[in-house]
Symmetry: C3
Subunit: 330 residues, 3 copies
C-alpha cells in the first residue's frame, strides 16, 4: 500500500484527506462537485445543513492559525457538528503526555474527526496511521508538505471561472521552496490535467528538483506570466527575510511583486489568486489585490464550501460519488 492509499477506504471512498498526492482525477472532481452543492449554503438565510449533527470534530492545532481554524470551525458548525478547539502546544504536552496518548484519549471520548495543523511535514499522515478505524483525519497544513484543502479551494475557484482545466496555463509565483500550498496546487493541477504549470521565483526559493514534478521554472516574472490564464501569488513568509534567502522586501516587490503592469503580460481574462493573508506591497500591489481580476475573496468563501465537502465525504455522510468513468464525458 502506498503512502497515499491510507486516504481511501476499501471501497475507494475518501476516508482521510491528507494530501492531493495519491488521489485520482475522479476523486478531485467529486470534491469539486460536492463543494458546488455546499457553496449555496453560505447564501441561505439559515446557513446550516444537518449532515454531521451529533458528530464531534476536533481542531487539533499544534501550530496556531486563526484563519484556518476559523474556516474549519465554520464549516463544521454549518454541517451542524459539535466542535472542540484544542491547542496542543498549550495543553497536554505541558503535562508531558505523548501525542499518541492524546489521540487515544480523544478517540475514547468518541470524537469523529481530527483536523490537524502541525509544523512538521507528515504529521497528519502519521496521525491518520494511528487512529481508530471510525476516525477521519483532515490535514489543515503540515510543515512544508501539504495543505490540500487550500489547494482544492483554489481548484474550485479556478473551475468557477475556467471550467476546462485541460486548456489552462497556471503560474504559481513566489516562495515555492517553503510553500505547502504550492506543492499541493502543483499536484492538484497536474491531476486535473492542466495544460501547463509554471513556477516563478528567485533561484533561492525554488527547489532544484521541481521540474521533476512537472512545472516549468521561470525566474523572471514578466516572462513567466506571458499568456497564462491563472496567476497564483504565494504569501511571502516574513520569517524568510531573515534567513538570507531573500534580498529586501523592496527588492522582492520590484522583482516578483504583482503589479498591474506586470499582470498585463498574462491573458486579459486571467484571474489572480492568493491564499491570504496578503502582504500588500510585498508580493502583490493593492491595485491588483483589489482589482477586477482578483478572486481572492472568492477563495475564502469557497474555502468553507470545500471544507464542508471534504468533511462530509470523509464522514461518509454523502451519497455515493460519481466515478472517474462516469465523469469523463464532462
Amino acid at each position: 500500500m502506498t503512502h497515499a492509499n491510507i486516504q481511501l477506504d476499501e471501497n475507494g471512498h475518501l476516508k482521510h484527506f491528507l494530501s492531493i498526492y495519491g488521489l485520482d482525477r475522479g476523486l478531485l472532481l467529486s470534491i469539486l462537485d460536492h463543494a458546488r452543492s455546499f457553496a449555496g449554503v453560505g447564501d441561505r438565510a439559515v446557513k446550516k445543513v444537518p449532515l454531521l449533527r451529533g458528530k464531534t470534530i476536533v481542531n487539533l492545532f499544534f501550530e496556531p492559525s486563526t484563519r484556518t481554524r476559523t474556516t474549519f470551525e465554520l464549516a463544521a458548525k454549518r454541517l451542524s457538528a459539535d466542535v472542540l478547539n484544542i491547542n496542543i502546544s498549550t495543553s497536554a504536552t505541558k503535562k508531558g503526555e505523548s501525542l499518541f496518548d492524546t489521540l487515544q484519549t480523544l478517540e475514547a471520548m468518541h470524537c469523529d474527526m481530527f483536523v490537524v495543523r502541525h509544523a512538521n511535514s507528515g504529521a497528519a499522515h502519521f496521525i491518520a496511521g494511528k487512529v481508530a478505524p471510525h476516525i477521519s483525519v483532515i490535514n489543515g497544513g503540515d510543515g512544508r508538505h501539504s495543505h490540500p484543502t487550500q489547494a482544492m479551494l483554489d481548484m474550485f475557484t479556478i473551475q468557477q471561472h475556467k471550467p476546462d482545466f485541460t486548456r489552462l496555463k497556471v503560474a504559481i509565483v513566489g516562495d515555492i521552496l517553503h510553500s505547502r500550498v504550492a506543492r499541493s496546487e502543483i499536484h492538484a493541477l497536474a491531476t486535473l490535467g492542466a495544460e501547463e504549470i509554471r513556477v516563478i521565483g528567485p533561484k533561492t526559493l525554488i527547489p532544484t528538483d521541481i521540474e521533476a514534478m512537472g512545472p516549468r521554472v521561470f525566474h523572471n516574472l514578466e516572462q513567466g506570466l506571458e499568456d497564462v490564464d491563472v496567476v497564483i501569488m504565494l504569501r511571502l513568509q516574513n520569517e524568510r527575510m531573515c534567513s538570507a534567502l531573500l534580498p529586501s522586501e523592496h527588492e522582492y516587490f520590484h522583482l516578483y511583486g504583482l503589479t498591474e503592469k506586470k499582470l498585463a503580460n498574462a491573458r486579459a481574462d486571467a484571474i489572480v489568486m492568493h491564499p491570504g493573508p496578503i502582504n500588500r506591497g510585498i508580493e502583490i500591489d493593492s491595485s491588483v489585490a483589489d482589482g477586477r481580476q482578483s478572486v481572492i475573496l472568492q477563495q475564502v468563501s469557497h474555502g468553507i464550501a470545500v471544507r464542508m465537502a471534504v468533511m462530509a465525504m470523509t464522514m461518509g455522510s454523502l451519497a455515493d460519488t460519481p466515478t472517474l468513468e462516469s465523469r469523463d464525458e464532462v
Copy 2:
C-alpha cells in the same frame, strides 16, 4: 449624512448599533420594548429562541473583556446563532494582516454580524463604514467613546423601576472623563427626556466641556445626590490611579465612594447602579452594593435581554417596530 445615520437603513430601521448619539427616542423605546420581550427567555426551562438560527456572529475583540464577551456570546447562543470568538490582538495582526483585510475575509466566510470591542474611539464606526451591506456591526465598547449596549441595559433597568423618564433626576458618579459608559448614558438619558442629568466627580475626572452635553456638574457627592431617583456609579479604572489624576484610593472612597450615609441624600426610593465589575470599598461600599436599593445584578440580567434585542433588530429578524409617533402616547 451625519455620523450617526450609518446606524439606520434606508427605512430608518436599526442596521448597526454603534452609539446612542444619533438615535431618536422612538428607536430607543423600540429597543427597550424588544428587550422586555426577551427578558423572559432567561427564565424559561429552554432558554433559546430560534430567531438567528444559522447566522454566524463574530465577537471581534481587539481588547480583552471576558464579561462583555460572555454576555454577547450568551445573547447570541440564546438566539440560536453560531458564535466565533476572535481575539485580534493575538491572531491575524501578528501575521501583519490589515484590519480591512481581516474584515473582508470574515465577510467572505458569510459571517453576518461583528461585535466589535476596541481600545480606540471610533473603531466600530470605522468598521461599520467598511463592511458589506449584509453585515451588521455592534459596538461592544470603543475607547472612551461609546458603550451603547451598556447604556441601553441601564435604561432598561431604570425603566423597570421608574417607567417615566421625564420625571427622573439621574446622577452619574466617578471618572466621567475616561468613561465610555457615562458618555453613552448621558446621550440615552437626554434622548429619553430625563428631567435632570448630573455628573459628580473630582475636577480632574470631569471633562471641561461636559455641560454643553446637558448635565449639571457637581464636585461634592452629598450635594449632587440630593433628591435624585437614580445613582449610577462608575467603575474606577485602577490604571488611572497611577496617572496623578487621583489622590489615593482611600481618599477617593472618602470623597466619592457611595456609602449608606451618603446615599441617604438621594430619594428614599432611589436605585443604585454600577456597570461592574465592582471595586468594593473604592467607589462603592459593600453595604450599598448588596443593599436593598442596589439593582446591579438586575443590570447583568437585562444585559442579555438588551443584547438579544439589538442583535435581532439589526439582523432584521423582528417584525416592524413602532414609530416615535405611535409611541408618544405611552
Copy 3:
C-alpha cells in the same frame, strides 16, 4: 446539617455533586445506573440527547486542565446544553473582581450550572454554599480534596468488569497524600462496600491517618498487589519530585512503577486503571498501560457517560431515581 448534605435537595435528590463523602450507596448506584444509559450515546450516529437543551453550563476553571474541561464540555454538548468556558485566572480576577461577585454575575446571566476546577480544597463546596437556588455545582477537582466525577467513572469502569463490589479487593498505588482522586475513590469504594481497600506507596506519600478512613497500608508494591481484583495507579505529579518527598524518577519506577512482573502478583483477571495522563516509564510500564488488563481508555469513555449522568441528575432532568431499598436486591 452536615458538610455533605448541601449536595442533596429537600427530597434527597442530587442537587450539587461535590464529593463522594456524604452520599449513600443508593445514590452512587443511581449515578452508575444513569451513566449506563448514557454510555450508549457515544456509539450512536447522532451522539446527542436533548435533555439539557437551552441550559447554560459554565466551565469555571481556576486552574487549567484541558482534559477535564474537554470531557465536561463534550458531556454538556451531548446533552445539548450551551457551554461557556471561563478561565478565571486570566480574566475577571485581573480586574480585581471578587469570586463572589463573579458568581453572582454569572447567575444573573441565567447560567444553570457551574463546573468548578480549583487549586484550593473546598472551593466547590464554598461556591455551592453561595449560589442561587436554581444553580447546580459540580466539582471538577479541588486541591487535594476531591475529584468525585473521576471516582465515579472509575467505579463505573470497575462495575463493567466486576459487578459485585462486595467481593472486590482494590489497590490504589502511588502518591496518596496529594491525590484528590485517591481520596474520592476510597470514599466511593467504602460506600459501595468493597471487601478490601489498600493503599500502596512510599511512607512520605501516604497520610499518617489514612487507616482511619479504612484502607490497609502497604509500602511494598508486590505485597500490596497480592490477590487484588483492581489496581488503580495514580499519576505522579512531576512537581512533587522537587519537593524532596521522592527519590529520583528512576528509583520511583523501580519501587512503585507497575510492570508486568509486579502485576503478576495480582489476580490473573485483575484490571489496571489510571486517571491519565500517563507518565509512561514512571508510574506504569508501557507494556502494562497498553496491555490486555488495562482499562485506561475505557475510563476515558466512561468519563463522558458519568459526567452526562451527574449533569442530568443535578439539573433534575431525569425521572425519579431508585432508592437504596429498591436497589438492595441487585
